[in-house]
Symmetry: D3
Subunit: 148 residues, 6 copies
C-alpha cells in the first residue's frame, strides 16, 4: 500500500489504471455467503442451479462489487473521501473459476459549490472477466480537497 496525495486539480478526465487479476473461487462464494448472511441457492446450491438458465452457481452481486472495488485499493489518497456510487449495474454473472480485473477511469470532475475547497470526482469502475466481458460497472463519487 502506498500513500500519494492527489488534489482535485491533479485529476484529469481520461486518467485511468488497471488492476492485477483475481480468480473468483468456490471459496469466495462460500466466504461471501457466510459474511453477508445471504445463502440463496442461486449462489450455493449446485443442484438447484442446474435448473436455471446459467446452469451453475452465480456470484453474489455484492461480492463482485466488493472484490472489484478491493482490487483497486492499492494507493491511499489522504485528501479524497468516498461519497458513494451511482449506476451500479450487474452486467454479466460471474461464475466459479472466472478471473476478474478492475479498470478505473476518471470520467467527470466538478467544483463543489456548496463545499468550498472541495471538488467532486467521478471514477468509472469496470470489472471484466477473463474473456474481457464486462461483469459490473459503477460510478464511484469522491470528494477531493483542492490544492491548499
Amino acid at each position: 500500500m502506498l500513500e500519494q496525495v492527489t488534489y482535485f486539480e491533479d485529476y484529469a478526465i481520461g486518467d485511468g489504471r488497471e488492476t492485477t487479476g483475481r480468480t473468483i473461487t468456490e471459496t469466495d462464494f462460500v466466504v461471501h455467503a457466510g459474511h453477508s448472511g445471504d445463502f440463496f441457492p442461486h449462489h450455493l446450491d449446485a443442484e438447484f442451479c442446474k435448473t436455471l438458465p446459467f446452469g451453475q452457481r452465480i456470484a453474489h452481486g455484492t461480492m463482485v462489487f466488493t472484490i472489484g472495488v478491493g482490487l483497486t485499493a492499492t494507493v491511499i489518497n489522504p485528501v479524497a473521501f468516498s461519497y458513494g456510487y451511482d449506476r451500479l449495474r450487474f452486467v454479466k454473472p460471474v461464475f466459479i473459476g472466472d478471473t476478474i480485473k478492475s479498470r478505473v477511469e476518471i470520467t467527470d470532475k466538478e467544483v463543489m459549490e456548496k463545499r468550498p475547497g472541495y471538488g467532486r470526482v467521478t471514477e468509472r469502475l469496470t470489472v471484466t472477466n477473463q474473456k474481457d466481458e464486462t461483469a459490473l460497472v459503477a460510478d464511484h463519487i469522491y470528494m477531493v480537497e483542492m490544492r491548499p
Copy 2:
C-alpha cells in the same frame, strides 16, 4: 429461507419491511479486509485511526453495503432479478460494536416499455445503526415478471 412468488402487479409503493439486527464486530472488519483485499489502515490500523477525526477504525463501505443487503436476503422471489443499484451513499461511518438493521421500502415501479412482460421496481434500502442514525442508503432496481 422462504420462496414466495410476487409479480410486478403485486408490488405497491410504500410496502416495506425491517430486518433483524446484526452487531458489526472486529471480526467482520478483518474478514472483509481478507475477502476484499482492501487493507487500508482506516479499517485495520487502530493506532493510525487515533489520528483521524473519528478516532477509531471505520467499516469498509463495501461491507456495510454487503451486510446491509445480506440482512434482507430472507425471501426468494423467483420472478424478480436484481439489475443494480442507484444512489448508493455512505451517510455515516459504522464502527466496531455498532448494530445495524436494514429497512426496505418500495419507492417506485414502472412498466418496462422495451421489455414486454416485465416491470421495473425500485426498492429503497436504508441501513441504520443502534441510534437509529442512517449509515447507508441505496436504491435497488429489480426487473420483475408481470402476472402471466
Copy 3:
C-alpha cells in the same frame, strides 16, 4: 429471518417443512476443520482417504449436523427454547460436492408436568443428499410456552 410466535398448542404432529439446499464444498471441510480444531486425515488428507473404503474425504459429523441444523434457522419462534437432541445418527457420509437439504417434522409433543405452562415438542430432523439418501437424523427437543 422472520419472527412468528407458535405456542405449544399450535404444534401438530406431522407438520413439517423442507429447506432449500446447500452444496457442501471443499471450503466447508477446511472451514470446519479450522473452526472445530479437528484436522483428522479422514476429513483433510485426500491421499490418505484413497486408502479408505470410501476413497475420498468425508465430512465431519459435527459439520453435517451444524449445517443441517443451520438450514432450518429461518423462522424465529420467541416462545420456544432448544433443549437438546436425541438419537443423532450419522447414517451416510457426506462428500465434497454433495448437496444437502433438511426436512423437519413434528413427531411428538407432551405437556411438561414438572414445568407448568410449558410443553415439550420433538422435531425430527432429516438431512438428505442430492440422491435423496439420508445422511443424518436427529430428534430435536424443544420446550415451548403454552398459550397464555
Copy 4:
C-alpha cells in the same frame, strides 16, 4: 495428531481424559454463523440480547457441540467408527470470553450381537466452562473392532 489402535476389549468403563481449554471468542460466534447460516439475533445482535434474560449474545448450540467435540480430536483410533450421539443437552449457555474444556469418560460398553466382531462403546462428553459449570453433555456412541 497421534494414531493409536484401541480394540473393544481395551476400553474400560471409567477411563477418561480431559482436554486443553479454548476461549470462545466473538470471532467464533461470527465464524459459526457464517458457517452454519444461522444468523439468529440471539447469537449476533448485542442490542437485541440486552432485552433477553442473559443480557448478552449466546453461543449457537451447534458451536458448543462442534468445538467441544473438536477439542477431543487428538488421538486417532483406526478401529473405531463414530455412530452418533444420544442425549445431547445444552445445559448452560456459553458466552463470548468463556473458556471451555471437554472431558470424556467411557460409561458403557456392550458386544454388538448383530455385528459380530464389533462392540459398542459409549463415551460421555462433558463440556465445562472456566467456572467448572457444565455447558453441554452428550453420549458419544462408537462401534469398535474387537481384537482380531
Copy 5:
C-alpha cells in the same frame, strides 16, 4: 493435544517423528491471502499463472511454512521455548491439491553458556508433498530447560 515434559537432556540427535498429511486446497490459498494480505497474482490469478513456467497458482511461502509447522503442533513441551528458525528454504512450489506432511528430526543440541540451566536444540523441519519431494526445509531453534 498432549502435554509432555521433555528436558534438554532427553533430546537425542536423530530422534524424529512424522505428522499426518494435509491436502492443500484452493481454500487454503484464499484464506492465506486474506490472512496475510498478500494478493499477488502468483497465488490468486489462474489466468496470469498460465503464462508462468509452472502454469498454475503457487502456494505462498509463508503458508507452506505455517501449515508445515502447524502439522507438528501436537505435543506441548512446557519447558521448551521457540527461539526462531534458520535456513528456511522454499525448495519446490506447492500447488492446489498437493498433500503435504512434515517430518521433524533433532539435528543438534548444545548447552547455552550464556544462559545457565538452558540448552539449545535444533530440530530440522522437512515438509514433503505426496510424491515425497521436499517442498520446504527449516531449522527450528528451541531453548529447553535442563533437568532441575
Copy 6:
C-alpha cells in the same frame, strides 16, 4: 498492487521502506489457529495464559511472520524470486491489540557465481509494534536477474 522491474544492479545496500500498520486482533489469532491447525493454549486459552509470565494470549510465531511479510507485499518485481529466510527470530511476543508494521532494508547483495545472470539480495525484515519494539526479524534472500 503495482509491478515494477528492479534488476540486481538496481538494488543498493541501505535502501528500504516502511509499510502501513495493522492491528493484530483476536480474530487473527483464531483465524491463524484454524489455518495452521495449531491450537496450543498459549494462543487460544485466556485462562491458561493467566498462569504464564505474560499473563495473556501470545500470537503464533508463524502468524507474526506471515502478516509481517504480507504487509510488504505491495510491489511485484517480476525478475526477483524468493529463496528463503535466514535468522528468523521471535524477539518479543505480539499480543491481541498490538499494531505491527514492517520495515525492509537491503543489507547485502552478491553476484551468484554458480548461477550466471543472477544475483543474491538480502533484505532485512523488521516487524515492530506500536511502541516501536522489535517483535520479529528475519533476513529474506532473493535471487534477482541481472540487467539483460
